[in-house]
């Protein structure tokens, strides 16, 4: 089973949750990033995600493999949306199961943190004012991204 994927279609958490379910797992930790209606004080109307997919999948798989090495977990998966997203849409989903919740939480956190900084994905925000910008390239958020 692959552990990291891009999706150009909307993601349903229930589908991905089923991928990591495991009868030995007592704990399931998940994280979802949703498109917010604001960023850095500006109204956001939609987002675009662009990904360098060939390298992105490799790097995503490496990150999840690292999580398996570092934490005693049962299953883990991450999926990231690409394309145009509306407010409230799921942008990224991470799910981890483990016998115990310490490992599930720690691995889930590790995966989302590493994915955000290492996987080649770019986000363009379209603002209520009509303009747009590539985050971290043209637009520097004042606060840390979610």
């Amino acid at each position: 089973m692959s552990h990291f994927a891009f999706s150009r279609l909307p993601c349903t958490p229930e589908h991905y949750r089923a991928l990591v379910s495991d009868p030995v797992a007592g704990g399931y930790a998940s994280f979802e990033g949703w498109v917010r209606n604001h960023n850095d004080g500006r109204g956001v109307v939609r987002l675009e995600y662009e990904g360098y997919e060939a390298l992105g999948v490799k790097e995503g798989e490496r990150i999840v493999a690292e999580a398996f090495t570092r934490f005693p977990i049962a299953k883990a998966h991450c999926v990231h949306r690409l394309g145009v997203l509306a407010i409230g849409d799921l942008a990224v989903w991470v799910g981890v199961t483990a016998a115990h919740r310490d490992a599930a939480f720690a691995a889930c956190r590790y995966i989302i943190d590493e994915v955000k900084t290492r996987v080649p994905i770019w986000k363009k925000e379209h603002y209520a004012a009509g303009d747009s910008g590539w985050i971290n390239c043209e637009v520097r958020p004042a606060d840390a991204p979610a």
């Binding site: 662009e50 360098y52 990224v92 955000k116 080649p120 590539w134 985050i135 390239c137």
Partner: protein, 83 residues
């Protein structure tokens, strides 16, 4: 002495794709490292200030001093913003 160039395929993403105006191109270059290739393209396209750019050769992250070979596929990676 005539310089023999190598051919490199480049793919642009996000802000670089929009700035260059295309997603891919093939260039003939005498650059021997990815750093030299980037400098050459920067002179041609006057890239915007982008913060820390990374580079991939043949779909793997590489050092800026990595040597280039004829037929390599290069991607310059502006600061990412997943999630």
């Amino acid at each position: 002495m005539a310089q023999i160039g190598i051919r490199i395929r480049i793919e642009y993403f996000a802000v670089l794709r929009e700035h260059v105006g295309r997603a891919q191109e093939e260039v003939s270059t005498t650059a021997t490292t990815v750093a030299e290739l980037f400098a050459e393209l920067e002179r041609r396209y006057a890239f915007p200030a982008l913060g820390r750019v990374k580079v991939a050769v043949n779909d793997e992250f590489r050092d800026w001093q990595a040597p280039l070979q004829d037929g390599d596929f290069v991607v310059f990676i502006p600061p990412v913003a997943g999630g």
